[in-house]
């Protein structure tokens, strides 16, 4: 079987409120990806639409999006793993191509979180976990990550200021990203002073500055077989490894509260499939919905030992000039987090880096890039390895 690669990537600007419909939003990322691939949409022989349905009024968005993008009569379907939906979509596109069923698949990620009112949104957030056993206690996503932050701090001596260093890096690079929703550069004082709005508590020990923002946005990744790439005379970025794992929704099923085993297992699979180790990764995008999430990602991916994440950020090793640049497009903390579109945006950043087309944030000659994309609080773990 031949290799499978990516020949086109695109995303819309990530914004608070998109002034159009879901399908129109999806068009923006799609158009960029198709033009980036230098193909017409007739070349695409299947599409995958990735999203989280509770933010849509539109039922069965795959059909409506495929129609708007001109992707009939090709098959299409909808896939969801919360915030990692488009990484799951990428894995499925890989398998559809690798298996020989298709040779050019568009992975469309889209989320219009502003489609519903903020009261409706709050209500849905209250149902983000097992609705029988956990939601009735009044849980929300920041509080779940806060539980992990608390345990991480207790076990390893991680400090709130260590987490703030992660947000500091994010804002440093977010300022350069024209498609990011949050482009202000922050300083350590704004992130740590008791007088700053960013240190207001959300769910202890996490504070406002530790959390990413909702956004509307879309992304698209065009996946092809080696043969198809040849026939189109395109040089793809190759998908070298895909790993995915799950963990129990109920925290009562977890063994560990200072890391996410589904991420570690997904990384193990992806490294093995790619035949590499963490040391071989030149650049990474990780799922920093909260600062603690990036800290745990360092450790789950093997960039640091468990508990060693704080030294990595203290030493600026995850900055552009460090030993392992992470989220130098601003990450979710600066870009915003339009659930279904997020994974595709991460993949786009890595593909652009591997092509040497990352502009201001281009690292020197990267050969291997990694995408870490999480659904829930480690419920769904996804790691993808890309290479030139």
């Amino acid at each position: 079987m031949g290799k499978v690669g990516i020949i086109g990537v695109g995303q819309s600007a990530f914004v608070r409120t998109y002034p159009g419909s879901l399908k129109e939003l999806a068009f923006e990322g799609f158009k960029e990806a198709v033009q980036d691939a230098g193909i017409t949409s007739q070349e695409i022989d299947a599409s995958v639409v990735c999203s989280a349905p509770e933010y849509d009024k539109q039922r069965s968005p795959a059909g409506i999006v495929a129609e708007y993008l001109g992707l009939n009569p090709q098959p299409t379907f909808y896939v969801e793993t919360l915030c990692s939906s488009s990484s799951t979509g990428l894995k499925l596109a890989y398998s559809l191509v690798k298996s020989g069923l298709h040779d050019c698949v568009a992975v469309v990620g889209v989320q219009k979180m502003s489609e519903i009112t903020s009261a409706e949104s709050q209500e849905r957030m209250g149902r983000g976990t097992d609705i029988q056993w956990e939601s009735p206690f009044g849980t929300m996503m920041p509080a779940y990550y806060a539980l992990f932050a608390q345990a991480h701090m207790n076990k390893y001596g991680t400090k709130p200021e260590d987490l703030s260093l992660i947000r500091l890096k994010s804002s440093f690079y977010g300022r350069l990203n024209e498609k990011a929703v949050f482009r202000k550069s922050l300083d350590m004082d704004q992130l740590t002073s008791p007088d700053s709005r960013l240190t207001d508590p959300v769910a202890s020990p996490l504070r406002v500055g530790d959390c990413c923002a909702n956004a509307d946005g879309s992304s698209c990744v065009i996946v092809v077989s080696e043969e198809k790439a040849k026939s189109l005379s395109r040089e793809p970025v190759w998908i070298l490894g895909v790993g995915a794992a799950s963990n129990s929704v109920n925290l009562t099923g977890r063994e560990l509260f200072s890391g996410l085993p589904a991420a570690a297992e997904a990384a193990r699979q992806a490294y093995e499939m790619a035949g590499i180790t963490a040391k071989d990764v030149d650049i990474a995008e990780v799922h920093d919905c909260f600062t603690i999430a990036e800290m745990m990602a360092y450790e789950n991916l093997g960039f640091a030992e468990p508990g060693g994440g704080k030294e990595l950020i203290q030493g600026k090793e995850t900055y552009m000039d460090g030993s392992i640049p992470v989220n130098i497009d601003g990450g979710l903390l600066s870009k915003g987090h339009p659930i279904g579109a997020t994974g595709g945006s991460q993949i786009r950043t890595i593909v652009n880096q591997l092509r040497g087309e990352a502009g201001d944030i281009q690292v020197k000659d990267p050969e291997i890039g990694l995408v870490h994309n999480i659904g829930g609080v480690g419920l769904y773990g996804n790691v993808t390895i890309l290479g030139r």
Binding site: E123, P136, L147, A149, Q150, P201, A203, L251
Partner: protein, 144 residues
């Protein structure tokens, strides 16, 4: 087809309940009696909390109730929430937590009467049935 009576006891669970019907609805009756019950597979001997109607290990559905309120656990982690979802406004702020009881864990809230300073990872806790202002029930952790 005649409309059957639906068992909606689970609507009584938590500040806001999102589930009405479950095969472990008896949990609510036990909670009313001050018991916080899990289930134990009579074949495998596995303990489940929250209680399950079916054992994922042997696929059997022959499970017995056990009372967790008798056991002592250890606090694994916690978070004090400043914001909550719709319907939880009157409860705020509150602290959610996970406690480890050895053969099973429990997710719940810390007792409101506990001072923030008294809540520490590693502290010994008991789980206790708790009545809510809206007439519903849940369970909370108290210092053991």
């Amino acid at each position: 087809m005649a409309k059957k009576e639906i068992d909606v006891r689970f609507k009584k669970f938590g500040t806001v309940s999102f589930t009405s019907t479950s095969k472990v609805n008896d949990f609510i009756d036990y909670l009313d009696q001050g018991k916080v019950v899990g289930t134990r597979c009579s074949k495998c001997g596995l303990d489940f909390f929250p209680p399950r109607a079916d054992c994922f290990n042997c696929l059997g559905s022959d499970l017995e109730w056990f009372d967790a309120a008798a056991d002592t656990g250890e606090l694994v982690t916690f978070s004090k929430m400043k914001y909550g979802p719709v319907g939880f406004e009157n409860d705020l702020p509150y602290t959610i937590a996970v406690a480890d009881f050895g053969k099973y864990k429990i997710f719940g809230r810390m007792d409101n009467d506990l001072a923030d300073e008294a809540i520490k990872i590693g502290m010994k806790v008991k789980v206790s049935a708790n009545s809510l202002d809206n007439g519903n029930m849940n369970y909370v952790f108290k210092a053991a």
